[in-house]
């Protein structure tokens, strides 16, 4: 299979998976938030509201595509698609797993492996400001404009500590290719502590991990940094004037960015698809165990249903999980999917953190937001970078 065909195939798969994920991520978020707030969340459309995303999509697609008067039409239309396009472009370089052989073709679980992958991601992330900014400006509305301005300022500001935090991690990995970054994190200290950058000697990058995570929150305009769309001040910020699919595009972009950010954190700091502990210690059984446990829980809740229809749906879910668990017990499948599992697990955990934080923390004030990055995050990241550099220079062989 030649390069182009392979790429197209991979792109199609990725797009399909991603779109679904994006749609369901929103569902997960609503669910989690609801549970945090002791509500049920979406539960009418389909079992447990599982069809809610589909419904949302249909609704958004069928809504009237409203273009307010006095907007800059070209930019007004361009902005959301710019946002979503850029957000999706990032996935082109994200490695989800190691090189695998499937249907006789050896290929990495990655659309393309750029040797400047990280720079590519940074470039995309820095350009993605435009979507928001242009949307805010093109809408010709003061709320939008303010939101757009805020967001561009915020994104530029938080990009700096983020880049610096990334650079510290790079000092340990010594490459810009995301795949190689993950590869360098293979192995364990003392046979148990993973050589992830977050634990990596000579200078564990815990600080930069935290900084990166915080910046990722800001970059994606998530709470507690969602000033650009602070609804009680700016109605809805830069997308106040957007509706229907264009509105959805912004949401897609936001979630896509979230996923990118989490994936990047996983790749850079959490060892990518490498398992938490060595295979000798049973790491290869973890996916099966997890799915089994999930199935068990689902089954339990099916047995003690909170609502009448749970009695039917949850056992089905349990059965699906158990099947998955069994699947992961097959060595051939496991070899191909275990890394994917680990990657997804770590990313998912981080995504959960995103949602969790949203459900927990209040919003910053704008000046606090700016002060926080320039006067705290940036110096901390800088100090960390210098310390890392110094230590790496002093002990080049320790790793």
């Amino acid at each position: 299979m030649d390069f182009i065909t392979l790429s197209v195939v991979k792109a199609v798969i990725l797009a399909a998976v991603l779109m679904t994920t994006l749609a369901y991520l929103q569902w997960v978020e609503r669910k989690v938030i609801a549970h945090i707030q002791l509500r049920m969340g979406p539960s009418r459309v389909g079992p447990h509201g599982l069809l809610q995303p589909l419904a949302d999509v249909i609704k958004l697609l069928t809504k009237e595509d409203l273009i307010p008067p006095h907007v800059n039409r070209f930019l007004y239309i361009l902005a959301p698609f710019l946002a979503v396009t850029l957000a999706l472009m990032s996935f082109a370089v994200v490695p989800f797993g190691p090189e695998i052989e499937i249907f006789g073709v050896r290929t990495p679980v990655q659309l393309t492996d750029l040797n400047i992958g990280l720079l590519f991601l940074l470039a995309i992330s820095s350009v993605s400001v435009y979507g928001v900014a242009l949307a805010g400006w093109a809408s010709n509305s003061k709320y939008s404009l303010l939101g757009g301005l805020r967001s561009s300022a915020q994104m530029i500001s938080y990009e700096l500590p983020m880049a610096v935090a990334l650079a510290s991690a790079l000092l340990l990995s010594n490459t810009l290719s995301l795949r190689e970054i993950v590869d360098t994190q293979q192995g364990y200290y003392l046979g148990v502590i993973p050589k992830w950058n977050i634990f990596r000697l000579p200078f564990p990058q815990i600080l930069s991990f935290v900084v990166f995570l915080i910046c990722a929150f800001a970059e994606t305009n998530r709470l507690p940094f969602d000033l650009p769309e602070a609804e009680n001040e700016l109605v809805a910020g830069f997308h106040t004037e957007y509706s229907s699919m264009k509105f959805a595009a912004f949401f897609m972009a936001e979630y896509a960015n979230m996923i990118t950010g989490c994936a990047l954190a996983t790749i850079l700091f959490l060892g990518g698809w490498h398992p938490l502990w060595p295979a000798e210690w049973g790491a290869h059984l973890v996916p099966a165990a997890v799915f089994f446990l999930a199935g068990a829980i689902a089954f339990y809740h099916g047995a003690h249903p909170a609502r009448p229809r749970d009695r039917r749906t949850l056992p089905i879910v349990a059965v699906v999980f158990w099947m998955l668990a069994v699947l992961f017990l097959l060595p051939e499948v496991r070899a191909a999917l275990a890394p994917l599992f680990w990657f997804a697990a770590k990313t998912g955990l981080l995504l959960f953190c995103f949602i969790w934080v949203r459900g927990t923390l209040p919003r910053f004030r704008y000046d606090q937001l700016m002060r926080f990055t320039w006067k705290f995050l940036f110096p901390v990241a800088m100090a960390n970078l210098m310390a890392t550099g110094l230590v790496v220079a002093l002990f080049p062989d320790v790793s």
Binding site: L75, F120, A123, L134, S152, I156
Partner: protein, 165 residues
């Protein structure tokens, strides 16, 4: 493939640049310029400048031009008011420019009559490692100087940006 990429992005670049000149509204100009920069980034890649292509996007498109857009938005800059230009400039300007560009192209072409063809991968010295090595060895002093320059620029911008100068 190389040629197609070149032509596509060269045309985009030239079109965007022309648009920058033609458009009266600064935001349109800014977007055109971003277009130019993006195309140039691709051309850099073609020329083997991976690092510089990324930096082009990050710094130029991602930072500098954001700043421009930001300022345009902040000032809510409108389109230029048309003013009466001289007839000569209006009707002669473009032809003269075109003629001049033609001449220029001819001169360049004639000076580099047998220039080699550019192939992707024909030069791999633009990798980040290579550039970084040069930056921290031969060009260390200029590099440090630019850092000072940046510092000064920051200070200058902060001072200039204050409410009362």
């Amino acid at each position: 493939m190389d040629a197609i990429l070149f032509f596509v992005f060269a045309v985009i670049a030239v079109a965007c640049a022309a648009n920058l000149v033609v458009q009266t509204h600064p935001i349109a100009g800014a977007l055109s310029l971003i277009g130019v920069m993006g195309s140039l980034a691709v051309l850099y890649l073609l020329l083997g400048g991976e690092f510089i292509a990324a930096v082009q996007v990050i710094v130029y498109a991602g930072a500098i031009m954001v700043l421009f857009v930001f300022v345009i938005m902040l000032l809510n800059a409108g389109a230029e008011r048309p003013v009466g230009r001289s007839v000569v400039a209006r009707y002669l300007g473009v032809p003269v420019l075109v003629i001049f560009l033609g001449l220029l192209s001819y001169v360049i072409q004639s000076m580099l009559p047998a220039s080699e063809a550019v192939r992707f991968g024909g030069f791999d010295g633009g990798a980040p490692a290579e550039v970084g090595r040069l930056l921290f060895t031969r060009y260390l002093l200029p590099f440090e100087v630019t850092s000072v320059l940046i510092l000064v620029a920051i200070l200058g911008a902060v001072v200039l940006g204050r409410k009362e100068l």
